[in-house]
Symmetry: C2
Amino acid sequence: MGERTEIATLGEFGLIRHLTEKIELKNPSTLKGVGDDAAVLDYGDKLTLVTTDLLLEGIHFDLMYVPLKHLGYKSAVVNFSDIYAMNGRPKQITVSLGISKRFCVEDMEELYAGIRLACDIYGVDLVGGDTSASRTGLTISITCVGEGEKGKVVYRDGARETDLICVSGDLGAAYMGLQLLEREKSVFVETKEDFAPDFSGKEYLLERQLKPEARKDIVEALEREGIVPTAMMDISDGLSSELLHLSKESKVGCRVYEDRIPIDYQTAAMAERFNMNLVTAALNGGEDYELLFTVPLSAHDKVEAMNGVRVIGYVTKPELGNYLVGRDGGEVELRAQGWNSLGE
Amino acid sequence: MGERTEIATLGEFGLIRHLTEKIELKNPSTLKGVGDDAAVLDYGDKLTLVTTDLLLEGIHFDLMYVPLKHLGYKSAVVNFSDIYAMNGRPKQITVSLGISKRFCVEDMEELYAGIRLACDIYGVDLVGGDTSASRTGLTISITCVGEGEKGKVVYRDGARETDLICVSGDLGAAYMGLQLLEREKSVFVETKEDFAPDFSGKEYLLERQLKPEARKDIVEALEREGIVPTAMMDISDGLSSELLHLSKESKVGCRVYEDRIPIDYQTAAMAERFNMNLVTAALNGGEDYELLFTVPLSAHDKVEAMNGVRVIGYVTKPELGNYLVGRDGGEVELRAQGWNSLGE
C-alpha cells in the first residue's frame, strides 16, 4: 500500500497548487493558465476567458432553504463574476447537471429558469452542457466563456506600490444571510413546528446570500472613466483571503483601514444580535462577489467619485506585510481565514 | 404542490431538449449553441470550440476496476474526442473535482497523472478548474476548449443525399470490455476469493474500455487528403443512436450494411462466449469514441484508401428512413437503443 496523505492537510488551494505545479503550457494560444479568476486564451482579435465552478449539494448549497430558481441564478452569476474580475464580459456558458431520482422535470425547469434569467440579464448565451443521473444529490458544473480586449484584461499580479486598493459594494452581508438561514433551519429542525420565520428587515442579507449579482456595473463604470485597474479579482472567499492572494501574486504588501471597510447596516445589526465580531465577518465572510481592485494613485479622484466603490487602503512594498489598521491605529496582520473555516 | 414528472419519462436527451428549447442566442460570437459535439464561438481569426463532460462515480465509472490514472486519462480524452468530432483541435481544458473523504492526495495525484498524460499526448494545456469536498464519491467535470478553422468546422447537419457514411476504427470493443469487467467483478463479489482474473487475449477489449483514444490521427489524415467531411460526430452512445442524430440533424435517411461494420476479432470472440448478438453490441455498445462522418461520393477512392476508415453505407432521402441492411439483404430499422439501456 502506498502513502495516504489526507486532503485536509493541504486544503483546497494547496491541493490545486500541488496538482498543477508541474504543468507546462504548450500552446501559444494559452496566455494564462491556472491561478487567476479565469484562464486567458488568444483565439484572434479578442481574448477568450474561461472559468468554471462546481457546486455540490450538501457542500455548496442546502435545498432546505435555497429555492432551485435562486440556485440556478447564483450558479450562473458566480461564473460571470469571475469573468468581470478579469475586466472581461461573460458571453457563453455550458451547464452540466448530475441529478438524483429525488428531482423531477419541474425541479430542473425551476433551476433552468434561474440560469436563463441570469443569462438574459447579463446578456449571456447558454451553449451546451451535459446531463446525467447521479447516485445522490444535485451536482451543477458551469463553465463560462467571456471576452476581453487585448491589453485590457486585468490579472492578479499587477498591483504596484502606492496603488490604491478599492472594493465595490459592501462586505459580509452574504455571510450574515447564511448565518440567518442556518439558524432558522436549526430552529425548524429542533422544534418541527410550523416554519414561518420572520425575515422582515433582513431582506438585504437574504438577497445577498440567495441571489447575488456580479458587478457588471462597476466594470462598465471603470471603462467609462477610462480606468484599467492594475490588478483585480472577485471576493468569493472573503476580503482577507483575496487581499493575501493579490499581494502574493503581485509581490507587494498592503495596508487596509478598518473604518474604510464598507458594511451595510443590516449586516452590522445582525452581527450585534448574533454577538459576532463584525469586522471578522466582513473580512472573512465570503460569497460577497464584489470586486477587489487596485488603481494607480493618479486615479484617486475618479474612483472616490464612483458610486459603489470605496478606497480601503493602499499597496506597499512586500516587506511591509499585509495589515489591517484598526480604528485605534493598531495594526493586525491579515490572515487567510476563509469563510469555510468560519462555518460549523 | 405542483406536478411531478419523472426525469426518466424524458430521458437524458429529452430533458436537455426540453430545458434548452426556449433559448434564444444573443451574442454574435455564438455561432452554434446546444446540439452538436461542441459549441462554436467566433472570437477572431479562428473559431473557438467548447465542450464539457460530467463524470460521476457509480454512474459513469466504478473504481473497483477502473484505476484512477486510467480514469483521468479517459476523462480528458472523451472531451478531446468531441473537439475532433467538429474537425477541431483540442487546446485547453479545465478540470473540476468533487472529492469525498475516502480519497487522499496520492489518489488525486494518480488521477491528475492520467489527465496530464492525456494532455501531453494530445498537446493540450490544463488551464484551470475548481476543487471541492463532496459528500459522497468522486465527481469529475472537464471542459475542453479547442480551435477550428473558419469554413472547416464540421457540424452534424451537413450530410447530403448520396454522401458516403464512414466510421473509423472498430466498434463494440469498449462495450465488451465493460461486460468483461462487470462479470469479473460480480464473480469477485460473490466468491470473495482472491481476485486474479485472467484477461489474456482480451487486452484490446480492456484497453478500449479503460484507456480509449480520440481519433486525432483520422482528423489529421482527412486534412492531409484535403477532405472536409460534410457531417461528423463521435460515437459515444453507439453507432445506431449517432446515425439517427446525424440523419435527424441533416434531414436525411441512411442505409448502412451489416457486413461493413468494423468489428475486432476479440469483440466477436467475446460476444460468442457471452452468447450476445455481435451486431447489437457493435451498433449500440457505446464508448467507442470513434468518428462517424460523411463525405461526398467524389471522395470515395480517397476514404477507401485511408487506414482505419471504413465506408459503411450511404445517405438517402429522408423519406427512405434509417435502415441496417443485413447479410441476407433484409432491412432492419435502426433504433436508438443506446448503451445505457443495454446495461443491467
